[in-house]
Amino acid sequence: MTNNSEIDVNALVDDHSDYLLSFAMSKLKDLDLAKDLVQDTLVSAITKLETFEKRSKLRTWLTSILNRKIIDHWRKAETRYTDPVSSFFQQEGKPGHWLDSKGKNKTLETIEDQISREETNMELADCLGKLPDKWKGVVASKYLEEKDSEEICKDFEITSSNLWVIIHRAKLVLRDCLQNKWEL
């Protein structure tokens, strides 16, 4: 066991802050928020340095602190929404029409040859921004970190059936959003 108090603060920032920012941005897409959370992470890391055991790499430990802060941010944000999952099906005036997407005859893949990967990424990022924060968190945990369902449910304090419903609803919202953009 090394003496953790010997960790150089300057090196900590130089070696890890950019990686942590990239990690935060891959999940958040809000640069100011990402920078704030990375700074909070580094402050927390310094104050908790004594608890760091060399069983994991320093970067892994820092990333886990940052990840916890991002999840906390999403969970707090979620309180602003009453019941985003069940409200999806209760759109005034169009009961039961949720599966009638704008794209009556075309699937998303029909547009793929006509647009660049960058454009797809950009439009998808924009559509992801329309999801409730908790859904964004769940989607990022699944597709960025490739966590299994047990971990995701634990992080977000949801049941496994809630998880499937969130992924399902998120995809419907994303599909609708993309079809609107590309007028499919």
Binding site: M25, K35, I46
Partner: protein, 78 residues
């Protein structure tokens, strides 16, 4: 309406199948429904495409703090 309710369950089962194995009954039910429901088949295609795009979208891009920002953070931490 009954069909749409069924579509909701089928497409939800499809997403569930990405996390856990479906029962034989659910698998057969899904196969039969998909055989006659174009909307659910379209949903499945779109869902697969979104899986691919979302994975790509979350690949790490490079971001960095400016030197001024790094100095400010170091000052705060020291």
């Amino acid at each position: 309406m009954r069909t749409l309710k069924r579509c909701e369950q089928i497409t939800l089962d499809y997403e569930r199948s990405n996390f856990e194995a479906l029962s034989v009954k659910d698998r057969l039910g899904m196969r039969m429904h998909l055989g006659m429901c174009v909307k659910c088949r379209r949903y499945m295609k779109d869902s697969k495409k979104l899986d691919l795009w979302l994975k790509r979208r979350y690949e790490l891009a490079d971001y960095s703090f400016s030197n001024v920002e790094k100095s400010a953070i170091k000052e705060k931490l020291n």
